[in-house]
């Protein structure tokens, strides 16, 4: 049975009729066309679906829609302000941290939460922070550099 769920996504209120079995990933992609969150495994193993719920990075493929009532969601589409890229997004481009780009949005969402509390992380801390985000193209090296660069700018 569909239930009416209200939640805030990237600063906008939404009221959606959702099935109990739906996940946040489906809500974002299929209901709202916010395709930044991506399906890589649908089982909380790859991190491509990572978004933030109430400021915390989560696997959206495992968040149940009916649990989202009243929650605040931030996706990659909410990262840039007034057309200005967030320092993380800019650093990913400048440091060559984007190859195929499929893991990129999830990485940025995880890094965004991480940098909210860690202002001067070292490489090891960064690697631990993104342990739940797989990348098959970059070997992570330039992603770590980009997150470090961004931390200095934020």
């Amino acid at each position: 049975m569909k239930k009416l769920i209200t939640l805030e996504i990237n600063g906008e209120q939404h009221e959606l009729a959702l099935e109990p079995s739906e996940t946040l990933l489906q809500v974002l992609r299929d209901e709202l066309g916010l395709v930044g969150a991506k399906r890589g495994c649908d089982s909380g193993g790859c991190g491509c679906c990572t978004v933030q719920v109430d400021g915390q990075a989560v696997y959206s493929c495992m968040q149940f829609a009916h649990a989202l009532q009243g929650r605040t969601v931030k996706t990659i589409e909410g990262m840039s302000q007034n057309g200005e890229l967030d320092p993380l997004q800019a650093a990913f481009i400048e440091e060559g941290a984007v190859q195929c780009g499929y893991c990129t949005c999830g990485m940025i969402m995880t890094a965004d939460e991480f940098l909210a509390t860690e202002t001067e992380p070292d490489d090891q801390q960064i690697r631990h922070a993104i342990a739940g985000n797989l990348c098959r193209c970059t070997g992570y090296q330039k992603i770590v550099t980009a997150i470090k660069t961004a931390s200095a700018r934020r």
Binding site: K38, S43, L85, T104, C105, L134, R136, G139, Y140
Partner: protein
């Protein structure tokens, strides 16, 4: 050669979109009234289908069509994109949906419905009656007399068995001072492209198909789909995706999804989408496991006198890429890498009831390099020879005839430089002798080589190798580049735009990769075989040269100079040695403007010979197949209580001809190490010994390195040898960096703890067993 755009770490134009969401991935394609299809897959590894009752599925609300084996064409084909479908060197044994199941997971039915959930539920309502047959899961058993025969025309289940011989092997062994033998085994591994295999196929009232797919070869998909459906190729249009989410060779063949989606679309008149789950991807494509037996004869000083190898490749239920992987493996994994007058290699691609294989970066060479480079170290250890000197002694030299095709030469070949520079960077001469470290954590350094490789497929039997491009100048001084090269993340867009910009005399951000489909652009071979920079790059450069020639003709007319006296710099055409100039936008205004222009003095004609869009087309085969060369050194630490390996440092050296984009090139090496390291230490697709069911169908069970397991640094040394046949001197890069990590790691482990593991992955358990602690 002085270049201004080529050689710079230009930022990727596609990165801007990707960090903001990435709309261009094929997985995002939706069309109005789109249906969703799902495949029902056999739980049994070998079975005949006796009956399928799909009536309950058909009646489910929302189900629009069902396809069973009897509903689909039974034409046999080879699904590999980069060869003609009926190429003689490949095996045509694949069918879209068959009455005979040959591996667990093979599709046996399909449903198209209004939502994926309904389609999934409908699958559960399909009743399939199977007659299970006795299955066989390993090549040795499959080749034995009395084994179940999996394909009519494959005796002893051998799909192909190529062999190559040079010289006199027997004499070679007679002339040897020492003979070494060993068997080396590699496992089934997955590319783990993160964007799943996905397609949307639409059809019009004339039955013309439009295909969106996450794939590495537009024209290959067109050819194969048309073949399977028995329609002319011109009835299939494949749209170029702006970019795809990884391929690595795992999207180099037509899957089940494109033909089935096409059939559904033709049947229902609606677009049909199929997206594979991660489980389905794990059983769709794999790097073939190969067992290599090596017998090698050497003189006491380390010179090869004879090399024999026998390779057995498990291709699973269908040959697919296996008929070509075995050849590349034999050639570039084993035979051609070093000089030896007497060599024989025999290969067998063997059918089993395991999952089918696909392409994967390296394409047979990682399996070979692991064996060869491990054995060389074993030989050096036994005979107390220096491993670097050994390789140099047996290496090809620059200027030698190309070992694969003597019509070409090793025009640039800096293998020796790679070895020396990388050895120096990592501190090779300071390393400890094998097994000499103290404490329970022991360090070691080792290296592996890919001495000979390819820049594309020029000269290989049956493999497509030509590229094309169309380039057009715009009135704002930008250029549009249209070609059929798919960017799967390695930076194809950036590389080709840089090459075009350099040739045209434009700044990098003035060249834009734009729309293409198989109706609008010339043929291009796939993004594979390390070919895009060299092969497609040459075609893009050629098309740019056509554009530039025309530009200079028109500009010459306007500047009243001969086009030979003109040059282009940063979007402006100059008369050489003078400051008379005209900007490209002004040239275009003239070329594309009306023939008669209204002036204060009235209408004035311009000249006809300036008129027309400034556009260039090229379609060509590359001139050669130059060999890059590479070496990787790895320093690691082994925990002798647990067997765990920690990679401390990596140094990679590569003779690249010319680096088009240094940052992108580093990215290839770093990413290649993640794949090579995973292959060496932890990755393996595993199956239940009795049922053939996949045990490693998600990332929880199939382990790939996360950021935590990676070494703190990976250093790249690029040796620029300026290849005369390459665009601005470039050769290729991306595959050797995946072939070399495994032997480097195996050799480093031996140096650290004296344990020689000849089977991948080298898990902590195998090391601990090797230490005698289990």
């Amino acid at each position: 050669m002085n270049t201004t755009v080529v050689g710079e770490s230009i930022l990727r134009p596609d990165a801007y979109e990707k960090v903001q969401g990435g709309k261009g991935f094929p997985v995002n394609v939706t069309l109005p009234r789109m249906l969703h299809a799902k495949l029902l897959r056999s739980p049994y590894p070998y079975a005949r289908i006796l009956n399928i009752d799909a009536s309950a599925a058909e009646e489910l609300t929302g189900v629009k069509a069902v396809l069973l084996p009897k509903d689909v064409p039974q034409k046999k084909y080879c699904p590999v994109y980069f060869v003609p479908t009926m190429a003689a060197s490949m095996v045509q044994d694949m069918v879209v949906m068959s009455d005979t199941v040959r591996y667990a997971g093979q599709p046996v039915a399909a449903v198209a419905a209004t939502t994926p959930e309904i389609a999934e539920r409908a699958l559960q309502l399909i009743d399939v009656e199977y007659e299970q047959l006795e299955a066989v899961f390993d090549p040795e058993s499959a080749m034995r007399e009395g084994a179940p025969r999996l394909h009519e025309d494959a005796e002893n289940n051998i799909a192909v068995n190529p062999s190559f011989t040079f010289g006199d092997l027997e004499a070679g062994f007679e002339g040897a001072d020492h003979i070494f033998e060993g068997t080396y085994k590699t496992q089934r591994a997955h590319t783990c492209y993160l964007e799943p295999r996905v397609c949307v196929v639409d059809s019009d009232i004339n039955g013309r198909l439009t295909v969106h797919s996450s794939m590495q070869h537009m024209f290959g998909l067109r050819e194969k789909l048309a073949f399977v459906l028995d329609i002319p190729e011109s009835m299939v249009k494949v749209v170029k995706p702006p970019y795809i989410g990884g391929g690595f060779g795992g999207k180099l063949d037509i899957g089940y999804i494109e033909p089935i989606a096409a059939l559904f679309s033709l049947k229902t008149g609606r677009p049909v989408r199929i997206e594979q789950t991660r489980y389905e991807d794990f059983i769709t494509t794999t790097r073939n496991p190969i067992e290599v037996y090596l017998k090698t004869g050497v003189k006491s000083d380390g010179t090869f006198t004879a090399r024999y190898a026998l390779s057995t490749l498990d291709c699973g239920a269908h040959a697919t890429h296996g008929a070509e992987v075995i050849n590349v493996h034999g050639m570039f994994g084993i035979l051609l890498n070093y000089r030896c007058a007497n060599q024989t290699w025999e290969g067998r691609t063997v059918y089993t009831n395991n999952m089918i294989g696909g392409g994967y970066r390296g394409y047979g060479s990682p399996q070979g390099s692991f064996a060869v480079e491990s054995q060389i170290d074993e030989i050096c250890d036994e005979l107390d020879l220096d491993p670097i000197e050994f390789r140099l002694k047996n290496a090809h030299q620059e200027g030698d005839p190309h070992p694969f095709n003597p019509e070409f030469t090793l025009s640039t070949y800096r293998f020796a430089d790679c070895l020396k520079q990388a050895a120096e960077r990592i501190g090779w001469t300071d390393r400890a002798a094998a097994k000499s470290s103290n404490g329970h954590k022991k360090r070691g350094i080792g290296f592996g080589c890919q001495p000979v490789w390819v820049s594309g497929c020029m000269g290989f039997p049956d493999i497509y190798e030509h590229s094309g491009a169309i380039i057009k100048l715009n009135s704002d001084g930008t250029a549009d580049l249209s070609n059929a090269t798919v960017d799967m993340g390695s930076g194809q867009i950036t590389t080709l735009c840089q090459i075009a910009a350099e040739e045209l005399g434009l700044a990098a951000d003035k060249v834009r990769m734009t729309y293409a489909d198989t109706d609008t652009v010339p043929f291009d071979a796939p993004s594979h075989a390390s070919r895009v920079t060299y092969s497609a790059g040459n075609a893009v450069k050629a098309a740019s040269a056509v554009v530039k020639k025309r530009l200079l003709e028109v500009a010459g007319d306007l500047l009243e100079a001969s086009s030979e006296d003109l040059e282009v710099r940063d979007g402006v055409v100059y008369i050489k040695g003078s400051d008379k100039k005209i900007s490209i936008p002004d040239v275009i205004k003239r070329a594309e403007g009306p023939f008669v222009v209204m002036t204060e003095e009235g209408p004035k004609p311009t000249t006809i010979k300036e008129k027309g869009t400034i556009i260039g087309v090229a379609s060509m085969a590359p001139p050669s197949n130059p060999s890059p060369s590479s070496v990787e050194f790895v320093e690691l630490e082994v925990d002798t209580d647990t067997g765990e390996v920690e990679i401390l440092r990596v140094v990679f050296a590569h003779d690249i001809g010319k680096v088009i984009n240094p940052m992108a090139a580093e990215g290839q090496v770093e990413g290649g190490f993640q794949q090579g390291m995973g292959y060496a230490l932890m990755e393996e697709i595993q199956f239940d010994a009795d049922s053939g069911a996949c045990l490693t169908a998600d990332f929880l069970d199939y382990k790939i390195p996360t950021a935590v397991e990676m070494p703190p640094s990976i250093e790249s040394i690029f040796i620029e040898s300026n290849e005369p046949t390459g665009p601005f001197g470039a050769k290729s890069l991306s595959e050797p960096c995946v072939s070399v990590p495994a032997p480097a790691i195996a050799n480093a482990i031996y140096n650290a703890v004296g344990v020689r593991v000849r089977e991948l992955p080298i898990t902590p358990e195998k090391i601990l067993a090797g230490l005698g602690k289990l």
